[in-house]
């Protein structure tokens, strides 16, 4: 534990140095201390996952009236692994990125606090400790969104949405946990876990429902996701990366920790609810990702998509565990956990790359980008690999985890309970549906953003970003490749984490080695061999291409139907790229399209100008949340009449109270 505390202390030191040092020092020093702390935490998490030890810490001196309790078990360590790895990248990236408002004392300090809380949340082992870290995490990220608020109106409204929803979510979590403490006689997780069985089933389900509400909102599960596509894009990019990769994972962590560990699994219905949330989120997120034109918004929606898949895994694991299928449950949990880490890396890298693009070109609107591969080749490489991982290109990390998920779902069909089977089926369908949609989204993101010709002067003038930013992005590519090519290396760690999550001592169906082999189901993938084959064929193709022609390629104008003029504005844009799919799913997306045609004065057969506008708003936000807010405001305005300024009325309040007291009490 001492090492972990040292890691946390390094992050605190980073925060303090950010607050205290002069401008030119505070960025590198805080980044150095912060990344060192994250590396240390990574090491601790690794050692816990390898040895399976559990370390604890309690101090009554921190947090008045309660004390701080930290416990790091393999489940927590797995999540620390994810957040510390991304934390290193975010800190390093910040060296090159932090300028202007992001280099201010407040922002840098908050950034380091945010990193700190991401390491601490999975370790918190009492209700108060968890809520403290959790709220601090929410607060620091909330304020970081506002870093450059004076120039970004969207950041302001995003922060409002995020703040309101995260606070409501935290309230739900708190209430759920407190309901569990009511008969536990203490607020440590150990007490909660020991007394969970004594809770009445209704109260247990009530507690889980509340906790699910809170954590799934943080995870971005539909329909509680509304804040996410607003907040993640508006944050500074290292913060977006942390939010989307690690903070979202904390939501998943919470569901697993409370549902599986503290409440010991509960009933099948809980997990069916979790999986259904996952199904809806995966589909909704993927669909919106395909139609988004803001690069970071696209990434945010894709986060919702992946979280959906993770929740399907978690839900399947819980349901199977409750149905007695422990081995398959283990498999599904493994898949979910692997996907969490894989997602943390590739989504982190993508958000950092999006930040690089924004920094270089001044915009993140795909409709204004293009041709960046020429000016930013390294960033482009990072995006290709990470996008490949998210599209589940075999031999990259997304594929390994999705394959595991499919294995878990496929063998879950042996369960006797019909609702579980239906959920498995929906899970498989969601997996299938999102695969294609994700591919569209990321082909669009890379193809429109990096290929072709620049669509704006900003994109034309882009230059590669500083080395520290490139290094940070490169760091996050490592897991995508490693988990993709030799996923088996992580199996022992995964087994520990999944076993600690599900609280069952079942031998893992996954064999050890560099490949993923589920021996008892006859399933396997051998990505390393696949890589060898692919490279060999590509070399052969290269020889065929170069070797036979023996010439450098000649540059010619592209085919334009015989016309000479071919301007960048004639290219397909992100909007037009997604238009066919938008039409297909118009019933879900409800796009708003305006066409305005102005005819020339002389004849209405000729058009002077034509304006076409296309917007895709979140239909859940527009139809679900907005009316609710409007109603609340109406109530608030109506309530103002209570205090109408008349002293007679004010006195009458008291008089009535007095009479009531006399009648009731006297």
């Amino acid at each position: 534990m001492a090492v972990f505390l040292a890691a946390l202390s390094l992050c605190i030191a980073a925060a303090l140095s950010a607050a205290a040092l002069p401008r030119q020092w505070r960025v590198p020093v805080s980044a150095f201390l912060g990344s060192l702390g994250c590396l240390l935490a990574f090491g601790v998490a690794m050692s816990i996952l390898i040895t399976g030890d559990v370390v604890t810490f309690h101090s009554a001196q921190v947090l008045p009236l309660t004390g701080l309790s930290l416990t790091l078990d393999p489940l927590g360590a797995w999540f620390v692994l994810a957040s510390s790895f991304v934390g290193v990248a975010a800190c390093v990236y910040n060296v090159g990125y932090a300028k202007g408002a992001m280099a201010s004392r407040t922002a840098l300090t908050l950034f380091m606090v945010f990193v700190l809380t991401l390491l601490a949340v999975p370790a918190a082992s009492s209700v108060m400790s968890l809520m403290f870290c959790w709220e601090l995490m929410a607060l620091s990220s909330l304020l970081l969104i506002l870093t450059d608020q004076s120039r970004h109106p969207d950041a302001r409204s995003a922060a409002l949405w995020y703040g309101a929803m995260t606070q409501a979510g935290a309230a739900a979590i708190l209430l759920g946990l407190l309901v569990m403490t009511s008969n536990a006689g203490g607020q440590n997780f150990a007490d909660l876990s020991a007394h969970a069985a004594a809770l009445s089933p209704v109260m247990r389900s009530f507690a889980f429902a509340l906790i699910l509400l809170g954590f799934s909102s943080k995870a971005g599960a539909v329909p509680l996701h509304v804040w996410l596509p607003k907040a993640h894009p508006e944050a500074p990019s290292p913060v977006s990366a942390l939010m989307s990769s690690s903070m979202v994972a904390m939501g998943v962590y919470g569901i697993i920790r409370v549902g599986d560990d503290l409440l010991h699994g509960g009933t099948v219905w809980w997990w069916i609810a979790v999986a259904l949330l996952g199904v809806v989120s995966a589909f909704y997120g993927a669909l919106h990702a395909t139609t988004s034109t803001d690069l970071k918004r696209l990434l945010a929606y894709s986060t919702i998509d992946i979280v959906g898949l993770v929740l399907i895994g978690v839900g399947a694991a819980g349901a199977l565990n409750d149905s007695g299928q422990h081995a398959v449950a283990h498999l599904a949990m493994t898949a979910a956990l692997l996907l969490v880490v894989a997602h943390a890396a590739f989504k982190g890298a993508l958000f950092l790359a999006a930040g690089a693009v924004e920094r270089a070109s001044g915009t993140r609107d795909l409709d204004l980008l293009g041709g960046l591969i020429h000016s930013m080749p390294l960033t482009a490489l990072v995006v290709v690999i990470s996008a490949g991982a998210i599209m589940a290109v075999p031999t990259l990390s997304g594929f390994s985890s999705e394959w595991l998920l499919l294995q878990g779902l496929l063998h879950g069909f042996d369960v006797s309970s019909t609702p579980t089977v239906i959920v498995m089926l929906l899970g498989v369908i969601a997996l299938a549906l999102t695969g294609g949609l994700t591919a569209v989204a990321f082909v669009k993101a890379f193809g429109i953003g990096f290929l072709g010709q620049a669509r704006s002067t900003g994109a034309l003038g882009a230059r590669e970003v500083p080395t520290s930013m490139v290094l940070a992005m490169g760091w996050l590519v490592i897991p995508s490749v490693v988990i993709g090519v030799v996923p088996g290396l992580l199996v022992p760690l995964l087994n520990r984490a999944a076993a600690s999550a599900l609280d069952t001592a079942v031998s893992s169906p996954l064999a050890r080695g560099t490949d993923l082999v589920v021996a008892r189901f006859g399933g396997a993938i051998e990505p390393a061999a696949l890589v060898v084959g692919l490279v060999a064929v590509m070399l052969l193709a290269w020889v065929l291409n170069r070797g036979l022609a023996q010439r450098r390629a000649r540059r010619v104008d592209a085919w334009a139907c015989g016309r000479d003029l071919q301007t960048p504005r004639m290219q397909y844009t992100a909007t037009s790229f997604a238009e066919p799919l938008q039409r297909v799913f118009a019933d879900v997306l409800r796009p708003q399209t305006d066409v305005e045609v102005t005819h020339v004065a002389e004849s209405r057969y000729y058009e002077q100008s034509l304006m076409y506008e296309n917007r895709v708003v979140d239909v859940l936000e527009a139809r679900g949340y907005r009316p609710l807010i409007a109603a609340a405001l109406r109530v608030g305005r109506g309530a103002r009449r209570i205090q109408n300024g008349s002293i007679h009325r004010y006195l009458a309040f008291g008089f009535v109270a007095l009479l009531v007291i006399l009648v009731v009490v006297g």
Partner: protein, 218 residues
């Protein structure tokens, strides 16, 4: 001796409540203030009668204090205030006079019902009269709620205070002297403060806004 004591006590305590009801009835500020003066004097009479009966010197001092403060000073202050107010009539109260009186009757019944529960603890001839004080409190509060004029508000406040003082005398033969001194002084000061406020406001803005001060609201 005892019978005289009881009837004197009853008379004085009854006068307190009666004057409270009278203030509700009358509209002219001048006569309301007179009623208040009467009430103060009756109140001090209660204290003095009790003091003589129970040989409580402290209560005797209190009685004299009450006589000075509530019987003389406060009414005098109020008269000064009411001279400032040209339209010194409670012209249209929120609840009209007949209804007020009916309501006052209801309040008195309520006070009686509640009061008997309290006096059950120690049944003496003095504590039996405590409901009268409670009724005065309620009537005073009712006046406070329903009367619009600033002076009426002050009167209502004093009625509440007098009612409480009556309860105090009857139930406990007065609280410790220091508390009693403090509370009397407080009442006095409140009246002074209110008077000061009325004067200042009149200075400050010509129109008589006191009746409908609703500038501050949500």
């Amino acid at each position: 001796m005892n019978a005289t004591y009881i009837s004197a006590l009853e008379l004085a305590a009854g006068a307190v409540l009666l004057s409270a009801v009278m203030t509700l009835w009358r509209r002219s500020v001048r006569s309301i203030v007179s009623m208040l003066s009467l009430q103060g004097i009756s109140l001090s009479a209660v204290a003095i009668v009790l003091a003589l009966h129970e040989h409580e010197h402290a209560l005797l001092v209190t009685g004299c204090l009450v006589f000075v403060v509530k019987g003389l000073v406060v009414p005098a202050l109020l008269r000064r205030v009411s001279r400032l107010d040209p339209r010194s009539r409670e012209s249209r109260p929120l609840v009209n006079v007949p209804a007020s009186l009916v309501f006052a009757a209801v309040l008195i019944v309520l006070a009686y019902v509640v009061g008997t529960r309290i006096t059950a603890l120690s049944a003496t001839s003095a504590t039996h009269l405590a409901p009268l004080g409670l009724a005065t409190v309620l009537v005073g509060y009712f006046m406070l709620v329903t009367r619009r004029r600033a002076v009426s508000k002050i009167v209502g406040l004093i009625l509440v205070d007098n009612g409480i003082a009556l309860v105090t005398f009857l139930l406990t033969s007065g609280v410790p002297l220091i508390v009693e001194l403090g509370s009397s002084l407080d009442v006095l000061l409140v009246v002074v403060v209110l008077q000061f406020l009325m004067v200042s406001m009149r200075h400050h803005s010509d129109t008589d806004r006191l009746t409908e001060m609703k500038a501050l609201h949500d």
